[in-house]
């Protein structure tokens, strides 16, 4: 029996068990409040995506926010990381600031961003997502550039490369594996920060999740959790893992993913 088959059986049993508990409760009422039903959850998902489109809109909005925040985190984080690796002065000053700020849980930035933006719109939330991913981009890129094999740099210098050519042609390509691992983390941190920020802010899957709770819609709460988990899984295990494995293989490295 293959791993895939075992997994399939496990999850199918889990879902059957879930629905069975729900059905039993309608008869014996061992919990006075309602329990969620698997089938009704599926129905909620269908309705939310194809009829009322509440879930579709929320998903699109959340994906928009994570994508924009993630791109900002990657671009800004990579640039600052390379800068810190290359400049001793920057590393001693800005570098220690980065270390200090890094220890702040990203959601803690939200109230500050709400004040700065003066509204509870998309701006502060994207900023929190970008902040969540930026630190890990900065610190990993800084390490990646610093730990480029000095022999590669020496060899390149004998072939006439110097100054910024060494950065572009040697240091950056040599740090691509580090870069990829960092983007994977930046995405994961950004996604978690986004959900936290939306629970407290407006729009997206997080806010819809809170609304569902306010209406006491058990199945809707669970459908949204399923969407959140699914998007996270797809990105981390399919997109990032696949790219990372391919690139690591080319570099002759073992992928941890």
């Amino acid at each position: 029996m293959g791993t895939a088959v075992r997994r399939l059986i496990f999850f199918a049993s889990l879902l059957i068990l879930w629905e069975a508990v729900y059905q039993l409760n309608t008869v014996y009422e061992f919990r006075s409040d309602a329990l969620p039903s698997f089938l009704l959850t599926l129905q909620q998902l269908y309705v939310g995506f194809f009829e009322t489109q509440i879930l579709l809109d929320a998903t699109v909005q959340s994906i928009y926010r994570i994508v924009v925040g993630f791109i900002i985190a990657v671009i800004v984080g990579t640039a600052i990381g390379i800068w810190l690796a290359r400049s001793k002065i920057a590393d001693e000053t800005v570098g220690s600031l980065v270390i200090a700020l890094q220890s702040i849980p990203s959601i803690v930035w939200l109230p500050l961003m709400l004040i700065i933006y003066g509204s509870v719109g998309t701006g502060p939330i994207i900023t929190v997502v970008a902040l969540a991913g930026a630190w890990v981009m900065i610190s990993n890129m800084r390490m990646g550039i610093k730990s480029v094999d000095p022999l590669l740099l020496r060899a390149s210098r004998t072939m006439g490369y110097q100054g910024s050519e060494l950065v572009w042609k040697v240091m950056i390509p040599a740090s691509i594996p580090t870069f990829l691992s960092a983007t994977r983390l930046a995405w994961a941190f950004g996604w978690r920060a986004l959900m936290a920020a939306e629970l407290l802010g407006t729009g997206g899957l997080g806010r819809t999740l809170m609304d569902a709770r306010d209406f006491y819609n058990f199945e809707l709460v669970i459908s949204i959790m399923i969407i959140i988990a699914t998007i996270g899984l797809i990105m981390e295990y399919f997109v990032f893992n696949k790219i990372e494995r391919r690139v690591f293989h080319r570099y002759g490295l073992e992928s941890q993913g």
């Binding site: 060899a155 210098r157 004998t158 072939m159 390509p173 040599a174 080319r250 570099y251 002759g252």
Partner: protein, 266 residues
């Protein structure tokens, strides 16, 4: 082609905060003629790599001057190709791209660069591995790519720092043959670092024997043995013994200093 002149060169490493400065060698003088194959031979730590790096322009001499064709060497340049003990290939480039990586300063057209890379890869018998990535190659093959890369740059001087040190005996003797035929064909000036006496005798016109503590040139041997050389040649054996005697004395000296009175060697 070009010659290399090393005049009264000294190298002192300033050391860290606590360490006192450390002079590797002083007053080193050596002239390598254009087209000559010269080996630097000596015990580990005597400064062979340091001297080679100074000629490469990767390191700066503390005193004295180093010139190539009367031009002072101040920084690395594609007129001096370097082959290190480790192949130093770019892992993200395939074999052919790695060779082309060295052609950057040559302002060649795409086709010319391509032809040149292919030509030199065939010269080191890697025609079948042009599209392989470094991690797919054995140590000997990687080192051959590094040699092809250095040759493709068409440098006047080829500097090699124990290029075969990490390889097994068979791969090494195959590469010896390749290097000899390449040198005969291209007549490059070659400065070759090794701690292997046979390798030095097999390949060189002259062998510069370096000693340690303080680092210095002890003796220079002319190798007047007809090529291709055989290790069984009586002249070969005589020279090997002469060099070996000198080198042994140096190695004993190092051991005595490091191990103190406990060292029982002669």
């Amino acid at each position: 082609m070009a010659d290399v002149d090393i005049v009264n060169v000294e190298k002192t490493f300033s050391g860290g905060k606590e360490d006192s400065p450390f002079t590797v060698f002083q007053d080193v003088n050596l002239s390598v003629d254009s087209g000559e194959f010269v080996s630097l031979l000596g015990p580990s730590g005597c400064g062979k790599s340091t001297l080679l790096n100074i000629v490469a322009g990767l390191d700066e001499a503390t005193a004295g001057k180093v010139t190539s064709d009367d031009k002072a060497i101040v920084k690395p340049g594609p007129d001096r190709g370097v082959v290190f003990q480790e192949p130093a290939l770019m892992p993200w480039l395939n074999v052919k791209e790695n060779v082309k990586f060295g052609l950057k300063k040559h302002k060649l057209s795409k086709e010319e660069a391509e032809d040149r890379a292919v030509h030199f890869l065939k010269l080191v018998h890697l025609g079948k591995f042009m599209n392989a990535f470094p991690h797919e190659l054995s140590g000997g093959m990687k080192q051959r790519v590094a040699i092809a890369r250095a040759l493709a740059m068409n440098p006047d001087v080829l500097l090699m720092d124990e290029p075969f040190g990490a390889l097994d005996e068979q791969t090494r003797s195959m590469l010896h043959e390749e290097v000899q035929s390449i040198w005969e064909e291209t007549k490059k000036t070659i400065l070759f670092v090794t701690h292997n006496i046979r390798e030095a005798i097999l390949l060189s016109d002259r062998i510069v024997l370096m000693g340690t503590r303080p680092g210095r040139i002890m003796e220079v041997f002319d190798v007047n043995i007809e090529r291709p050389r055989k290790t069984s040649d009586p002249d070969f054996i005589t020279l090997e013994e002469r060099i070996n005697d000198q080198l042994k004395g140096e190695i004993h000296k190092v051991m005595r200093e490091e191990m103190g009175d406990g060292y029982g060697g002669a």
